[in-house]
Symmetry: C2
Subunit: 193 residues, 2 copies
């Protein structure tokens, strides 16, 4: 079973080998082909999902039918829609695989049970929310106070791995500019060196 996940959890919190086995025993290993969806708009998201391999994209479609990338997630990250997860309402997001991916799923109920059995897991779960909140708040500030070029540079520095693996027009969407604008930003930046 997924060594990636075991290594991840050992790094994050102090968890015994038996606890880890117990956690693994309730996980549902899942494979996604390129282009396949983990979650589609309108469905309720009732899982925890750990990515042991691959690359997922979370996006939202606006009233004009345009797609907006909310985030990318790779190995050792968690995926899912917290809004739908916590509220129980249909999701406004979709999640699909940009690469062939391997996911570990836990049903919401199972994960809660495990969290109550294993304090370390609960601790990790709580940290996940707060770290997510902090990251989102910081991103909101950064987007609000920086130019498109600065945002792009920051993206390259923060997520070089993702930048290499994702098509440019999706990065543009993530940054909130058109693909043409991102092309021009790159040309400008290249000219300046």
């Amino acid at each position: 079973m997924s060594d990636i996940f075991k290594r991840y959890l050992h790094e994050k919190v102090a968890v015994t080998e038996t606890a880890l086995e117990r956690i693994s025993s309730l996980s549902i290993p899942t494979k996604l082909r390129r282009g396949e969806h983990l979650l589609k708009e309108g469905e309720v998201w009732r899982y925890r999902a750990f990515i042991s391999k691959g690359l997922l994209r979370t996006y939202r479609t606006d009233d004009t039918g345009q797609i907006h990338v909310l985030r990318f997630a790779i190995e050792n990250w968690w995926a899912g829609d917290s809004e739908s997860y916590f509220s129980g309402k249909p999701s406004v997001c979709s999640i699909d695989a940009l690469e062939p991916s391997e996911i570990l799923l836990w049903k919401k109920d199972d994960f809660e049970t495990l969290s109550n059995e294993i304090p370390a897991l609960k601790e990790m779960r709580d940290k996940l929310v707060t770290r997510n909140l902090i990251a989102t708040q910081n991103r909101l500030f950064f987007d609000n106070s920086h130019t498109a070029e600065e945002k792009y540079r920051n993206f390259l520095e923060s997520y070089p791995e993702i930048a290499r693996r994702v098509p440019l027009h999706m990065i543009a969407s993530y940054l909130g500019v058109t693909r043409e604008t991102l092309t021009r930003i790159r040309r400008q930046a290249a000219k300046r060196r």
Copy 2:
């Protein structure tokens, strides 16, 4: 003592009168004058803060010395910097009062103690984080996919109360546009009716 807070907590969760008294007993009532700071950049934020009266602004100063408003908070909201609170590191934000305000403070340790004594309070505390996360994520999406005018209209609809009480140039900062641009957006909108 603050009836506002008692009413707030009763509305949010099922809490006994004795529990409420216990919670109140550890609170530190504080008054802020207009312009006074609750938190200054560089300080560590070690409190929970409930606003029973007034209006607070959270902002950040960027490398060029410019101020960016992150959020406003009025009666019945909580204020503070989650990043500094959870990490224990000096804050990158400041919080000041835009109106004479009345705040209830709990020291971090006291609030944790209370949360462990009173399940309803812990429940409220956890909900606060997740609701905050969801709201921030939705705002990030909205900002990324809408024009300045749409963002302004959405702000007016979502927070009419705040819009009435806050100067325009701070709303502009919150929305990520210059005050001149916001002025022009309003003129356009007025012309169209």
